[in-house]
Amino acid sequence: MPLFEPVLPDSGLVGKLERICGSGGVSVSEPDRIAYARDMWPRSLIRQRLGAVDSPPDVIAWPQTAKQVAEVVRLARKAGLPVVPFGAGSGVCGGTLPLRGGIVLDLKRMNRILDFCAEDRLLAVEAGAVGENLEREVNRRGFTIGHFPSSMYCSTVGGWIAARGAGQCSSRYGKIEDMVQSLTFIDAEGQEHTTPFRWPGLSAWSIDPLLVGSEGTLGIITSASLVIRELSAERWYRGFKFPNVASGVEGMRLIFRQGLRPAVARLYDEFDTVIAKTGPEEEDVAEPVLSGLGGKVAGPLKRLATLGLTRLLHSPRLLNRMVDMLPGGCLMVVVAEGVEEELSHTSEAVTTLCRSRGAVDLGEGPGRHWWKHRYGISYKQSALFAAGAFVDTMEVATTWDRIPSLYKAVRKAVSPLAFIMAHFSHGYREGCSIYFTFAAAAKDDAASAALYDRIWDAAQEAVLSEGAVVSHHHGVGMSKQRFLVRQLAEANVLAQAAKTAFDAGGLFNPGKLGQRGGSVPP
């Protein structure tokens, strides 16, 4: 006896979907429906621990072509069923939760390279291509995509675009919106469209900026044309230890102000630095450390858990105070790549600038170590979840002048509720992102869900009051949409107009990005 039955308005719908996607391309099985009821949003994981399956899809389809996607959309439209596009499920914000059931369209079977032109540095690829597989294939041809999210092994091109994601080397290669040259998508009437090619330096209105970041609410992105770059023959790795966060942020600002473009410049605050290992000599200590939660911090937090510190998470104030008493020093990891002339100039200039702000050159160990473990364990569950606690990350951004106060405000807001640490990354000439990590525990899972919400409320209130943006690269999903709605304020009128123009019937991913029905389950 199934736990819950799919609600399909048309008993013949599964058969119709099978005729479109093939008999192995459709599922209404309970395990599949449970699996597709969540992504890697930590709140979903807490709910799952409670045994809750809040919003299972009614059916999952695996189309293999854009034409099949279009047919499924037309069928769904006729049947009045929502359609939620799905990549590899690595999103950490609940962006793919099928809040009103319907059809989840898993695009991973659409993973072909459609065109590759070395001369034009262009790659046209289907949306379901998984990052690591695609990068390897592009590398084989002497190029790189330049987009390396820590979810590289378990995220897709379509997901990167839908969430407006960033890779770890965004300082050199840009975010995904900088790479997209053109998109092909299926609209709410099941029609296929390709957006105009984006040309350099020209006045250029475009609908690409609307589709990139649309989180599946405006159309189903089926393929994209991306700019790619020649693979770098050389790479330069470095670690610098700054006296404190303030001097490190200043060093980072100066690097980008000068127009240098290291692929990676990441500054860890004091506790993140203590946890971070500083060179290959420590590699046998434990799991990779500078990695991400549910992802980003699973490594360090696993070590916390191993040390029996999970219990300390019940006293976050105490833990945060202990961290404040740690000896100072913040690690900055720098990785640069490019042609020999650029590399030589960048390495000298970065070293000079860091030293001018009191940094000690730690040699190449920390950089090499970080590079080796850069994808960490994004696809593994944190040990803290197993221990009954939870972790989450929040990546926000602002301009350099507001970075120090943003860092302090979020720490102050969250410290009473959760253990918190941060790193600064994704530098631009005008600002950067701060990547906060929270870890907390409560007496049971119901209390954990409530505490989780309080932490996010406190953190995002601080972000809003500091005038920073609520997300830099994870996207909005369920975790941030109530804050996005507040941040947009009167611009919600614009968002609504865009939604109506693209999808008046609310077919695509309903309840997201401020559309109605997006409440979080208790």
Binding site: R229, D401, V469
Partner: protein
């Protein structure tokens, strides 16, 4: 036969006068005298803050009167004048909404009202040792709002890709809503809704304020030029350098026929701090030499880069992928001169002199796929406009949107 100009109702005038007083609202001849556009406006209004823009748009909406916003109103391009509503319109002049609001030199941004002239922005930036990354076509007397409305993109020297020239925008929608984005270099907060204000001629509302990106004043500029007897080699140098090192501040390749053979001149200029310009230029020189280029003098190279490449003649332009250039040059055998500039990672801009070919668009887009894509994109944007401005009252001259690259 010209369309009959409408009259604005007494209610409209009374409503505005009671809100703002007569001082701020000009009628008939006075309005025409203040706004240098033909046909002249039925009324002209010079708001002093965004809430006044909002009230005017709501009042005009109730009146079903068309509204056209303009920057300094010092001049209007022919392409705008031709599209102005024949039945008349209410003009919003932004010259009173002018001034620098804040400069953050460490964060490389400046916020200013939309009516601030580009000259004022430039002067203020220079006081801080900074510069405004204005693109081609930006004139001194133009305004920030006007420039963003017709262009708004800049070529990012770090990424070699186009990027918005602003960190944030404030605008008044046709509905009267005052909307703001958060000043930040990049974000992941759903669709970039504010991108709709860039390059769309005010078609989604009136920009009232913006936070503009700045750059450090150029410490050093390094440039070089080379002659090539084979265009293919020059092209490969331009393509290679544009994708592998910092983006050049300017780059231009001029292809001319001489004795039945095509020859090319290629010049590139780099700018930046702390030796960056020299490093990039050294890379260019090495590539050019190894491709068989013969070095030209600095003055010559400078003139290749910055003199009018059309020599006063009419030219036609378009954009082209690198892989298509050689084939197109063969088809353009009759052209006196072909100029390639504005290089990006995937292609560049192309200009043909003289510009009397009627087949250039077809040569650049032989299957018509780009034209079709543009039409589709226009339809979606037009759909958004319909939601915000069902009667098509605000800046109606923007619709249908002109092709990108067709800025003033």
């Amino acid at each position: 036969m010209s369309a009959r100009r409408r009259e604005l109702s007494d209610n409209f005038w009374l409503s505005l006068a009671s809100t703002f007083g007569h001082r701020k609202v000009l009628k008939d001849k006075a309005a025409a005298g203040a706004i240098a556009m033909q046909p002249g406006p039925l009324a002209a209004f010079f708001p002093e803050d965004p809430s006044e823009v909002s009230i005017l748009l709501q009042t005009a909406r109730a009146e079903k009167a068309k509204v056209v916003s303009c920057g300094a109103c010092s001049r209007a391009h022919d392409s705008i004048q031709k599209r102005l509503p024949a039945e008349g319109y209410v003009a919003i002049g932004l010259s009173n909404l002018s001034g620098i609001l804040e400069v953050q030199p460490d964060s490389l941004w400046m916020s200013a009202w939309a009516g601030t002239t580009l000259a004022a922005l430039r002067r203020t930036a220079e006081e801080y040792g900074l510069q405004v990354p204005l693109t081609e076509g930006a004139t001194e007397e133009g305004t920030l709002g006007g420039w963003l409305s017709v262009c708004g993109n800049t070529n990012d020297a770090i990424l070699s890709t186009p990027a918005p020239a602003v960190l944030s925008i404030e605008a008044v929608l046709p509905t009267g809503n005052l909307v703001n984005s958060v000043p930040v270099p990049r974000a992941a907060v759903g669709p970039d809704l504010f991108s709709m204000f860039l390059g769309t001629w005010g078609g989604f509302g009136v920009i009232t304020r913006a936070t503009l990106k700045l750059q450090p004043l150029t410490e050093r500029r390094a440039l070089a030029g080379y002659r090539f007897s084979a265009t293919g080699r020059a092209l490969e140098v331009m393509r290679t350098v544009s994708g592998r090192i910092w983006a050049p501040q300017a780059a231009r390749m001029i292809v001319e026929s001489s004795g039945g053979k095509k020859k090319a001149r290629l010049a590139m200029s780099f700018e930046g701090e702390q030796g960056l310009a020299e490093v990039a230029c050294k890379y260019f020189r090495a590539e050019a030499k190894s491709a068989g280029g013969t070095a030209a003098g600095q003055d010559e190279a400078r003139s290749w880069l910055y003199a009018d490449p059309a020599g006063g003649q009419k030219s036609q332009s378009g954009c082209i992928r690198w892989s298509q250039v050689s084939g197109l040059l063969r088809k353009l055998s009759g052209a006196e001169r072909v100029v390639l500039d504005g290089p990006g990672l995937a292609g560049c801009r192309l200009r043909v002199v003289p510009g009397d070919r009627d087949d250039l668009a077809a040569l650049l887009d032989p299957e018509g796929s780009q034209r079709e894509s543009l039409d589709t994109a226009r339809e979606f944007l037009s759909g958004i406009r319909t939601q915000l401005d069902p009667d098509g009252l605000v800046n109606p001259h923007a619709w249908p949107l002109p092709a990108p690259g067709g800025g003033l």
